[in-house]
Structure formats: structure tokens, C-alpha cells
């Protein structure tokens, strides 16, 4: 009897481990499919820290803006890096337009893009931004820890970065992450 339970335990142990690993893997794949998990995504070093100090020229007809301008209105805002050469930026355009309709202040930074290319992009896909600035050299992007476009940073009223999303924003991410976090800050 004792030998039997021991053997059964020896069988059940690995089985339980395999089942656990399988469950975790399935959950991961499901989240990847829903676009809520990106295995290549890096954690942002900016979370809980002040927005990097910057002043950038504008994308005409918009005036440029500085890090201070983003939080000058005393409410949470989103800084969004984009580029005309970036495909996920096209995909997230409708989501950004919806955010604008919801009254979320979006500050756009055109990353490593030519002025006329950015202008064409905003013409084609809409301009959801309060203002659009140009980071042609990409140095402000590097200060943000940017490693691709688009990237979106949620900044609270005191200028502290609370959340970052690397990749295109989808309605799922907006409703499950961005908007609840924004409401919690307000």
C-alpha cells in the first residue's frame, strides 16, 4: 500500500508540474493573441519617475512643446511617439482618434521623421494631438528609453510617468489598462 501511494505521488508530481506549465503557457498565448502581452516588450525605466526634460520644435502648423507644457493643465496626459514610416502607428490611429473624442489630451512626438512625411501621415490618418512636436534626431526618444514606435506614456498631473505601452494602442489595451489607470489618477 505504501509503495503504491509513493509510486502514485511520483506519477502525479511531474503530471501536476506539466499541467501547471501547460496552463501558464496557454494563458500567455491567449494574452498574446489578444494583444495584451508582447514577449519582446521591455519594462520602462521611467515608471514612477519625472518625465525627461525636453523642448522640441513643432510640426507645422502645430507649435512645439516642452515637458512642462504636457502637464501645465494640471491633469493626466498621454505622450505618444509616432512616425510616418511605422505600420503599427497607422493601426493605432483610430484608437487615438477615439481617445481624443473621450477628451484624453494626447501630445504627439514625431520620431525620426521628415516634416513633409509627418504632415502627409497626419493628413491621411488624422491628427488626434493637442500639439505635435518633432524629434528628428531621436535624442528625446532615447531619453525616454524608446526602442521603437509607437510608444505611449501616461503622465500624471505632477509630471510623473505612470504607465508606458510599447507598440500600437488597441481598444482592448485602452479599456483594460490606459483608461482605468487614467481614472485612478484623476
Amino acid at each position: 500500500m505504501e509503495a503504491l501511494t509513493r509510486r502514485r505521488l511520483l506519477m502525479l508530481g511531474p503530471l501536476a508540474i506539466a499541467a501547471g506549465a501547460g496552463g501558464a503557457g496557454a494563458a500567455l498565448l491567449l494574452r498574446m493573441q489578444e494583444g495584451r502581452y508582447d514577449p519582446h516588450a521591455l519594462p520602462s525605466m521611467l515608471i514612477g519617475k519625472k518625465l525627461p526634460v525636453f523642448t522640441l520644435p513643432g510640426q507645422p502648423p502645430s507649435a512645439g512643446f516642452s515637458s512642462a507644457d504636457v502637464t501645465a493643465r494640471g491633469r493626466p496626459a498621454v505622450v505618444n511617439f509616432f512616425a510616418s514610416w511605422c505600420v503599427p502607428c497607422v493601426e493605432e490611429a483610430p484608437t487615438l482618434a477615439a481617445l481624443k473624442r473621450d477628451g484624453v489630451p494626447l501630445w504627439g512626438i514625431a520620431y525620426k521623421d521628415k516634416a513633409d512625411a509627418t504632415a502627409g501621415f497626419l493628413d491621411r490618418h488624422g491628427d488626434p494631438y493637442v500639439r505635435v512636436a518633432r524629434d528628428e534626431s531621436g535624442t528625446v526618444g532615447i531619453d525616454f528609453g524608446l526602442y521603437g514606435v509607437p510608444e505611449s506614456y501616461l503622465v500624471d498631473a505632477s509630471g510623473i510617468v505612470r504607465w508606458r505601452w510599447a507598440g500600437g494602442l488597441s481598444p482592448d489595451i485602452v479599456h483594460q489598462d490606459l483608461l482605468p489607470k487614467m481614472r485612478a489618477l484623476a
Binding site: 519582446h40 521591455l42 519594462p43 525605466m45 525620426k112 531621436g138 535624442t139 532615447i142 531619453d143 525616454f144 528609453g145 526602442y147 521603437g148
Partner: protein
Amino acid sequence: MTRLFAAILVLLALTGGAHAVSDPAEMLANPVLEHRAEALGSQLRCLVCQNESVEQSNADLAKDLRRIIRQRIVAGESDRQVMAWMVARYGDFIRLSPPFDAMTLLLWFAPAIAVASGVGAALLARRGRAAPPAPLSVAEREHLDALLDP
């Protein structure tokens, strides 16, 4: 056969040292500083390709980071300062060799843990094995012989 092996080794040695930074315009004129910049760049992960170093990668971001490394070295910063600047923006992930701290303890000790658990399992398995049966006594052997040769 040995000659073929030697040829393969030479080829490997030749390709192993190759860098993507072949653009002389990117390099510093001072060979000592350039050497430091290359050493630093090869310790940094390219954030775009993730399995290449900043020094090897052709990604735009890697190119920018190479330029920044050189600017900061020329400005008189130490290797440690340049590294700290990078880690402040991109986190420890940018370091191809992870630092030894509380977060990476498990990572660094994983080989030792694996060996220890393997040795432990082997010892346990040995202890659990039943002892070999005692050799037959003289009386038993005689009984057996009698049975086998009637």
C-alpha cells in the same frame, strides 16, 4: 582531416571578430578612445534586435547609441558613467552581461542549483535502491543442487 579542422577554426576566428561598424565616419580618430567605445558597445544589447550588441547591429537605434557612447567618451566620461547613462534609460536589460544583485541571484546560481539537485537526486535514488539479496547459505546451495540434479 586535421587540416580541414584547422581551416574551419581560422575561418571562425576571422568571422568572429567582425563588426558591423565598418563605416570609418562613425569611428573616433583616437584609437584608444575608439577601442573603449567598441568595448562598451559590445557589452550593450541592441534594443531592436535584442540578440545583437549595439556594436554589431545595423539598427538605427544602435547607430544612435554608438554615436552617444562616442560623444560621452570624448566628453571625458568613464566607462562606468556611460554604462550608468544607458541603464538609467533602458534598464539592466541593455547590459548583455547581467549584474550580480538580488534580482539576478537565481540566474547566477542556476547552474550550481542544477548540479546540486542532480547530485541530490542521484544520492536519493542510490539510497532508495533495495540491498542485493544475501548469498545463499551452504544448506540452501545443497538443497538447490539436489533440486537441479535429481
